[in-house]
Point group: C2
Chain length 339, copies 2
């Protein structure tokens, strides 16, 4: 249980300190003509070229920096790296959706201040839930059911819930340049994994359709599980024991445990991703670390070390010091979303 | 740590009770002419046809039993299913090899009765080590080093150690019919995983070369791990905490945790595989469970419920009751090994 407190602090920290600006306006910035020659059309020319140069360098058989296909492991954080994490992580939106969907069968929830608050129409005071409230929400919505029932709940949410800002299903509000990057790496023999602080079981429901990444290449936080057998058959039950929170130093440990190879390509956007970037950079092969910097308050959100959140501080400094690629989303992404 | 005792009982149980017969003689049984029409030439006709019928049924797009590629998950136990587990599991042979390789730097090991015994030339009294001795051997040889150092040790062993019975490197003493089955399933869109009680880090070193299964499709027992950073850089250290022993009910839990989908094809050879077979059989798709029965004392080993070991008893009964495929290795394998 020792990781659980930390895991629930994360959304709280994001909620409490984030100074992300938000606007409904879209810009014309993304409509610049796309160079037909680049394999990464939604990226600006400089960053696209830098990525392409690396990929060419490590996949050309005659290159001294050639990496065999078996060792072309790429890992990406999810929240804030492949899809937005503002104003709150989407997994919390799903969690509240689950509470709403089950409320009719649980009139007693009206007696619980946390659940009562969540059930109120237009609820938005996530900070007011406090760490204990968020913990209650997460455990109630993510454990105590079979994996099949949980999958079904996430599936309903991902099929129906709409991001109010973008008017699209959450699982379509994905960074188009990152989708292109994933496809580009896969086309060059990389095996691409998600390594996220988000729940593995949550992401696995829609990762294949959204990113073309199968569930068994999704590494994330996970709870305990138990194999149960009764008169109706067998199933796996999600339990609240043994919660593993896949963030910071736990990310390279999870890569070791789930993937078994040191990556050569890593994408992230926060201090939570620094350890896996350091791990990637420790590869004996030439490696590539990419850090998304959320700088576009018009098309997406802007938050970083200049805000109170401070959750991108160490990683940004280290990226700059070590010459990793820092992606300025405002200027480096021609388009942010496909829609 | 709660699983550790169990994990170390397994080799002990095998050692104590197994009545496996052993012989140096080979038979001519395997040299029967191979039907050119079968995709599984080392299998006898009946079992080969049964497997092919299933695969055709679930991969023909017009079949009512069609399974989409994304859901074609196959899982195989390793010890006794893909390679021999007699007279002792190969991982114990590696563990002793590691002790021998490090002994020169550790004269104090001569003061330890367990390590001293292991260091004796021609050591073979595994039972005499006792559960505590085996635990000491496993922890000493598998934890307290970086993942890189451990990988290197296993790599040296798998490149150099020779199975004394077959005169081949251990990682070539593989069941040829099972290799053909893995390739056959892969050729039909299945993603093939190992789900073994053996150590994941141990298997991952040679799984790609031996089976064509990459490390990230190898699920096994695992120890704790820690991300460490010092003046020389970063690395992942294998620790003795949080040992997960991937056997019995822990196998479906590990499939849930690592793969995230219920398999449709499962191969095993012992009661330790029963839970993952039951889990596979719970798939809403038509499933296929295959249980290897070690019946060939001439070409391999013979051990089962008729011996004292009893470690294939429940699974054999359930396989027979539910009509799963029980593979009689003596008659159903035309060839057992490729050499």
């Amino acid at each position: 249980m020792k990781h659980l407190r930390h895991s629930l602090w994360i959304p709280l920290i994001v909620l409490t300190h984030s100074c992300a600006e938000r606007t409904e306006n879209k810009t014309d910035q993304g409509t610049a003509a796309v160079a037909a020659t680049t394999p990464l059309p939604s990226w600006s020319e400089g960053p696209a070229q830098r990525i392409a140069d690396y990929v060419k360098r490590v996949t050309s058989e005659k290159s001294v920096d050639f990496i065999p296909v078996a060792d072309r492991i790429a890992v990406f954080d999810n929240d804030g790296t492949l899809w937005p994490e503002q104003p709150v992580p989407n997994q919390l939106v799903f969690a509240r959706h689950w509470i709403l969907s089950q409320a009719e069968a649980h009139p007693e929830w009206q007696e619980d201040p946390v659940l009562k608050a969540l059930l109120e129409p237009g609820f938005s005071d996530w900070i007011g839930l406090g760490a204990e409230g968020l913990k209650k929400l997460m455990l109630k919505s993510h454990t105590g059911m079979t994996e099949e029932a949980f999958h079904q709940s996430v599936s309903i949410w991902s099929d129906t819930a709409i991001d109010p800002r973008y008017g699209q299903p959450y699982t379509r509000v994905l960074y188009q340049p990152m989708l292109e990057l994933i496809d580009y790496l896969k086309a060059h023999g990389f095996t691409v994994f998600i390594v996220s602080g988000g729940g593995a079981d949550f992401m696995r429901v829609w990762s294949e359709e959204a990113y073309g990444i199968p569930p068994f290449h999704v590494v994330g936080s996970y709870t305990g599980a138990e194999f149960v057998s009764d008169s109706t058959g067998v199933s796996v039950l999600k339990t609240a024991q043994e919660v593993y929170f896949d963030d910071k130093a736990a990310k390279p440990v999870a890569i070791h445990r789930f993937i078994g190879k040191v990556p050569v390509f890593c994408g992230g956007n926060s201090d939570g991703d620094l350890a896996m970037m350091q791990y990637t950079a420790s590869s004996p092969y030439p490696s590539f670390c990419l850090l998304l910097h959320h700088t576009d308050s018009v098309r997406e959100y802007a938050y970083d070390l200049h805000t109170l959140s401070g959750h991108l501080e160490e990683a940004l400094t280290e990226a700059q010091n070590r010459g990793w690629m820092v992606v300025d989303m405002k200027t480096d992404f021609r388009e942010i979303f496909a829609f």
